[in-house]
């Protein structure tokens, strides 16, 4: 059976060009960048080059990039790192209810540790407004962390405006851009962002490597300890093949962005149109301010995991907002935050399209969803016509 992958928000395939860039560092160029000898020097050179590529992709200086093991670590380092850098002079952190757990749970942990925290609610589209942020900032605020674009419902936040508010108030602004790289233009020399997280495997790079952009002079301290790597901000022998892959993936993501964006928007809109023709299907997230490849719908009267299983049997890979998906009992905190009831949140599907999806796949998928929905509704006690 042909398989159709529509879960690029979970992870993407590694691009061939990226693997090609990595392979020498998985083979003969195995030196440790900290070593002085020739093996070490060729490794160091590759590390420097990858850093330049990531920096170029964001429009910043290479010294402002800290490599991490992924988006989760970048988010933790950003938040805990500035808190360590600034506390106890100030003690307040602001975030939103729709952040990824890597941000939300970190902030909640700091709340348990005695920090003051504010978790901003969102509107029905999952948006935080700059005004909300402005009102929440106090003279004890260290940091505002609001994501660039939401991983579940695709809503793009007004991050530049939020950043501008933070800058005006003299508060650090961190944005989790894990889902945004390759979709949104960044030029951080101009944009009021102090810290930005990214993760390579979300844009056709390797798993297990990410980066944190740390604007010069930002008071950030390391959160774990060891050798002097990454200017002491992130110790440990560098994942050089991964970092080289991240550099190459960034380069390609930026180069392909205009073309990819156009294609994804076309596919996305075709998918939305098809899905909304199925009875009792509703789009979640912002209708316009949304990631090119993201489609999130609630399918009333059916449960998400069974939909997902049914579609998987037809070769289609996607995610659901179902509780049962993650083994946890609660449905997606994002869908709850935008005001869905429990049952509607449970019956949600997330399609995240990628550069290799096709029109035919979209059409096949719409048909498959229709059939699976019909099949499950026929067995649903809450759907009776």
């Amino acid at each position: 059976m042909k398989r159709i992958y529509m879960d690029h928000g979970a992870t993407t395939p590694l691009r061939e060009e990226v693997l090609d860039a990595m392979l020498p560092y998985l083979k003969e160029k195995y030196g440790n960048p900290s070593s002085l000898h020739s093996f070490g020097r060729e490794a160091r050179k590759a590390l420097d080059e990858a850093r330049e590529k990531v920096a170029a992709g964001l429009g910043v200086a290479p010294e402002e990039i800290v490599f991490t093991s992924g988006g989760t670590e970048a988010n933790n380092l950003a938040i805990m790192g500035v808190v360590r850098g600034i506390a106890p002079i100030k003690n307040h952190i602001i975030t939103s209810a729709v952040e990824h757990h890597a941000v939300l749970d970190t902030v909640k942990f700091l709340g348990q540790m005695g920090y003051e925290i504010t978790i901003l609610p969102v509107d029905e589209y999952g948006m935080v407004s700059p005004r909300q942020v402005e009102e929440a900032i106090t003279d004890r605020t260290i940091l505002v962390s609001i994501m660039t674009a939401n991983n579940e419902i695709g809503t793009i936040m007004p991050f530049e405006e939020i950043g501008a508010v933070c800058r005006e108030k003299g508060v650090y602004y961190h944005t989790d851009a894990v889902q945004a790289i390759g979709h949104i233009d960044f030029n951080l020399r101009e944009q009021p962002v102090d810290l930005l997280s990214l993760s390579a495997h979300k844009f056709y790079g390797p798993k297990g490597v990410g980066a944190l952009y740390v604007r010069k002079k930002t008071k950030l301290k390391q959160v774990f300890f060891g050798g002097g790597q990454e200017r002491k901000l992130r110790p440990g022998t560098e994942n050089l093949p991964g970092i080289v892959g991240l550099g190459r993936a960034m380069e390609l993501a930026v180069a392909d962005m205009p073309e990819k964006r156009e294609k994804l928007i076309r596919l996305r809109d075709r998918l939305v149109e098809g899905l909304l023709q199925i009875e009792d299907v509703r789009l979640n997230g912002h209708p316009l301010q949304r990631l090119p490849g993201n489609v999130n719908v609630s399918v009333l009267y059916v449960e998400g995991e069974s939909l997902l299983l049914g579609l998987d049997l037809k070769g289609i890979a996607l995610s659901s907002g179902s509780a049962c998906t993650s083994g946890s009992l609660d449905p997606s905190h994002v869908l709850m935050a935008i005001g869905l009831d429990h049952q509607t949140a449970q019956g949600s599907l997330r399609f995240t399209l990628g550069k290799d999806n096709t029109d035919e796949e979209i059409d096949y998928t719409v048909e498959a969803v229709r059939k699976t929905v019909d099949y499950l509704r026929a067995m649903s006690p809450v759907y009776r016509k």
Binding site: Y301, V302, E303, G304, E305, S306, L309, G310, L313, S322, A323, C324, G327, L329, P331, H342, Q343, Q346, A378, M379, S380, P381, V382, Y383
Partner: protein, 121 residues
Amino acid sequence: MYNEKVMDHFQNPRNVGEMDNPCGVGEVGNMKCGDIMKIFIKVENNIIQDIKFLTFGCGAAIASSSALTEMVKGKTIEEALKITNKDVADELGGLPEAKMHCSNLAADALHKAIEDYKSKS
């Protein structure tokens, strides 16, 4: 995640649908997991002659309902009452740890249907 038997029940659920004039109906809903299950039974001579189900829920919930109906059909009321949620999971060759709570409904729904039948007869 799910074994073949579970997937078979999910893909080819046995005894799915509503029943006209059932002798007993049992409905349980676990709003925590979001699952809702409805069991219909037809009883003659103390024997469950027919059984049907409707389920809103995850794969494990659907497969459990289906498996339960197969286990129950033709059994006496007393035998049926002895079936536990664990029996259903065992019949399916086991369910993932995280899913045990989802399938902990099928036997409950059956027991309710039997109660309903008893209360009417």
